[in-house]
Symmetry: C2
Subunit: 337 residues, 2 copies
């Protein structure tokens, strides 16, 4: 099943059911007005939506054309957004570039930061920021949305709470990170509003590409129109989504609609740290990794971070080349302030 | 104006208008069903609620008795919960106990952590946790709720976005903090669900005690029935709430209903680090500070953290002795898991 949220001049938008090939959509206000409302009552609502979805795929005569440009993030605002860092290669690279090894525990205990969730950016909306001297970067990721998860859930049973999947652009301000992390309280200003793909899908939509609580497909990023990365999201993911959900729920319940992210998708490709598209590799899902490689190789980075008017497109295709989630496709703009 | 949220077997409860002396309450479902709904439309709804509030204070014949035990936290779940650490004395103590000085920047650049907001605990509900070997502590704080705050708001104009005030128990798991902060991503498992006072009030309810975007009244904590602290929330608050809101909004918009906390209220009292109630001082708003004093004085802490069945009560009175927010009053219990 595929779901989206259309803009309608309300804070939570309106829930839309989208057909499998992302060409048609129908309103489902009589079932659930918003995505959060559907998630709040998922057990009752999911079968009703599923029946409509099957009908829509069989006969879309009464449906409107689906337009990704009309979409909010599937949850325009959420009660929980926690982002893991499950591709430890990414973490290792960042550390290596400053001459540090990662602690052994990083391979067994997930890194996760608490994100802010009150003001997500739409997948086709501009990312507005006051300065492009803050080291603006994209981070291409996969995320899950859960139902209610009880505190202390075991990793073995956490997977059953995963109800929807999305892609993420976890916008990061690299220039603000060192100072902020040095203060000891983690990210805040360095992690501005995040962006999610136009469409959220149930795991069964991925058929065999969803296994072991991982998505086994490449995450494709184009930076200013050029292919930048296509790493396999199922490879080098040290912690699967069930482990990430369990980590998030160790000392708290997670409310329905909680979003848990994978962290930047990153592959080692049998090398020390992976390689770029230009080098014949699968590339990367953020600029920071390229800069780390450059720092390790040349002593300093040469690829700049994003400037105003730069664009980033993040999407994922099934093995037949069909877009699964629609595309995050947006431009960095100077905010009016 | 005073507002509360009664439990009604829904996720967001039902909004109640409470009279000034916290004895009577009325439903206002025809104006706004939930606290978030009121905050989403505050400009239109606030005057309507205010008129009802004035009537309720003049004639409560048709009102029911107000019962704090029926309350959820005013926002049972929220889209944003960011907690500052504005009483730098608290931070200085923690550092001094481990032999470290605080960086000079801590006096000019607020510390703030991103909290999780999907599952707040009711003010009279048990705090359920699987283990009391995690160093369970309370943290008594004041918090504000904002309307929509634009990114980059100046501290000089951020105060106008403060619409409601509450008290907080920012439950902390001290035993999990060192390991978690060492990972570099800030608090997550070490900050379980937080708790807010039964009643949220508009700043004008504090009359002259609200000035300079600070609350100039003592925050009173009783631990297992004994007075533990009564520090003045308006003293030693290095950053006022307008500065904290501006800090939170540096690189993001804050959505209506965003909660921004003060951090643990802590007074220096003209001494190095304050003194306890037993010593004739104003005491503290968390156990950790007492342990820091003990560590500085004796080389090690002697006061244990909270055990299952321990209770904490946090409240604030006006200069006439009237409770303003009702009381957070709860017991630590072992969770069923």
């Amino acid at each position: 099943m595929k779901l989206a949220t259309y803009k309608n001049n309300t804070r939570d938008g309106k829930l839309m059911l989208v057909n499998r090939d992302l060409t048609k959509a129908i309103e489902v206000a009589d079932v659930a007005a918003t995505m959060q409302q559907a998630l709040d009552n998922w057990r009752e609502i999911e079968p009703v939506l599923k029946a409509r979805y099957d009908s829509l795929n069989n006969d879309s005569a009464n449906a409107e054309n689906f337009d990704e440009a009309l979409c909010e993030s599937p949850l325009p605002r959420a009660y929980q957004w926690a982002d893991g860092s499950a591709y430890v290669n990414h973490v290792e690279l960042v550390r290596k570039a400053r001459g540090a090894e990662i602690p052994a525990s990083f391979w067994t205990d997930p890194l996760m930061y608490q994100g802010g969730s009150d003001d997500f950016i739409g997948p086709r909306d501009d990312v507005k920021l006051p300065s492009d001297e803050w080291g603006i970067d994209f981070e291409g990721e996969v995320a899950v949305i859960t139902d209610d998860v009880p505190m202390g859930v075991a990793p073995e049973s956490a997977g059953q709470h995963i109800k929807l999947l999305m892609l993420v652009n976890d916008v990061s301000l690299r220039g603000l990170i060192p100072g902020e992390l040095a203060k000891g309280f983690g990210f805040f200003q360095s992690k501005p509003s995040s962006v999610f793909s136009p469409v959220a899908v149930t795991p069964d939509e991925l058929t065999t590409a969803w296994s072991g609580n991982k998505v086994h497909l490449p995450l494709v990023s184009h930076y200013n129109g050029a292919l930048f990365g296509k790493p396999e999201a199922g490879e080098d993911m040290t912690f699967d989504f069930a482990q990430l959900v369990a980590h998030a729920a160790k000392s708290r319940n997670l409310g329905a609609g909680a979003i848990i992210g994978s962290g930047t998708v990153s592959n080692k490709q049998g090398t020390d740290h992976g390689s770029s598209i230009a080098e014949g590799g699968v590339g990367y899902s953020c600029i920071a990794e390229v800069r780390m490689i450059e720092t390790i190789r040349d002593g300093k980075p040469s690829t700049p971070f994003m400037a105003f008017e730069d664009s980033i497109r993040i999407e994922m295709f099934d093995r037949e080349g069909q877009s699964i989630f629609g595309a995050i496709d947006q431009v960095i703009k100077k905010s009016a302030v």
